[in-house]
Symmetry: C2
């Protein structure tokens, strides 16, 4: 939802087809095989609903399944990882970059691999933060326990001299106000949600034929595979308004 919000803000004329797989979240603690299967189903769903370009708005799915989706589907596919890396490499001075994410994202090693591919001398320091997703989903955005857990997770990164920290999970932008001061005011904090929205905007500027195919498509639709009060609240918190969440059955597809 943080990605959907960033896209809405940067590309106000475009209509979104959003799908949140709430019946099967969180992906971050599942195996690569399961994440790939779910990501493929999610993409098919969005294409069936008329999507012309796909944004994999989840670092876990992007880290594990984006190569597979790009190989299988013949549409432009964006993901949250490369744009965040590009932004991180653009702002880092000492090329020492921290990355935080779910267990699956960190275990995939994709950030380290891609960063070092792009800049051989870069040093990447990664830290899984598996409890941050449930804390965000509970709305514990300012609780003392959340601060302590963030302190514990960031502690190993604090003596590594990183000048840039990538928020490698689309839940984490809701915790920037705690993560930023804790990692240090001088550290650049990179939000993958806005990074991918930027990337899509530039792509559409360079590809007017795609841009035109998106125009005047009608209103945005927000599909979810499960509707809960917590999801409604989180949506309202992120979008600043009530969203009309439409429930769909993923397993019937």
């Amino acid at each position: 939802m943080t990605v959907a919000k960033a896209v809405e803000q940067l590309l106000p004329g475009k209509s979104l087809v959003y799908f949140g797989d709430l019946a099967r979240t969180p992906y971050g603690s599942k195996s690569p095989e399961t994440i790939c299967k779910y990501s493929r189903q999610d993409t098919e769903f969005l294409l069936n609903k008329g999507a012309k370009i796909i944004i994999i708005a989840c670092n876990t799915a992007a880290s594990v399944a984006s190569d597979l989706l790009k190989a299988e589907f013949d549409v432009p596919i964006f993901e949250v990882i490369s744009p965040a890396i590009e932004k991180a490499l653009a702002v880092t001075v000492n090329s020492r970059i921290g990355v935080i994410g779910t267990r699956a994202t960190i275990k995939s090693n994709i950030y380290e691999t891609k960063i070092v591919e792009a800049r051989q001398e870069a040093k990447v320091f990664s830290q899984p933060c598996p409890l941050l997703v449930p804390l965000v989903e509970e709305g514990w955005l300012d609780k003392r326990e959340t601060k302590m857990i963030i302190r514990r997770y960031l502690h190993p990164l604090q003596h590594k001299g990183v000048d840039t920290l990538v928020l490698g999970c689309t839940h984490y932008p809701l915790l920037t106000h705690l993560i930023g001061p804790r990692i240090g005011r001088k550290v650049n904090v990179i939000d993958s949600s806005t990074a991918v929205a930027d990337r899509v905007k530039r792509y559409l500027q360079d590809h007017p034929e795609v841009d035109n195919s998106l125009a005047a498509e009608g209103k945005s639709m927000y599909y979810v595979s499960d509707v809960t009060d917590a999801a409604r609240l989180t949506a309202q918190r992120i979008f600043g308004r009530k969203l009309d969440l439409i429930q769909v059955d993923m397993e019937g597809i």
Copy 2:
């Protein structure tokens, strides 16, 4: 898994068919419709694997789906809630009973309804504790943050004068060492895992024909819909030995 372990200890001669729906957990934050659908599939799976009696070893599934499963399937179906209530009513002196569980379990109101049904003058005080499942699954069983979160969750119960607290989630027995001292040494803490194992044992003593049909069935099988390192670790922690977890695809069923 805490229920499987309790059954194994109380009924050492019987073989278990275990299924853990790790690809779609946690159930506790999902809607009743989704929980019912998954519970029905899980039951069909166990029956196909030769199960003769079913234990719904999850308070969330039991609270939302046990009536439905009992109506649809023609086998003895046990669940973790009634045995825990029976045990709580047997030990409480002042009939003031606390219940902690997931958001879905507490919202279902099943503990309060069933306790008051059995003893009209009883007072039930319920508290959802949604972060305890992820904390247990992370293995944070002795961390300071876990203690603080437990303190925060139990605080509203501490001035209610409860003399009995039901652990209404099969993850919570792994936190008894923190929950017990926090709620107070004089409060009876009821573990639904051992309560249901007790109940099954008594049932088999009263129904020798069912008991005999279970005998000499071969070794226990542990199926899961996703295999992760965290699941392997948790299994080892609970059983005190490595389990051979067999992965199955629930959506193909």
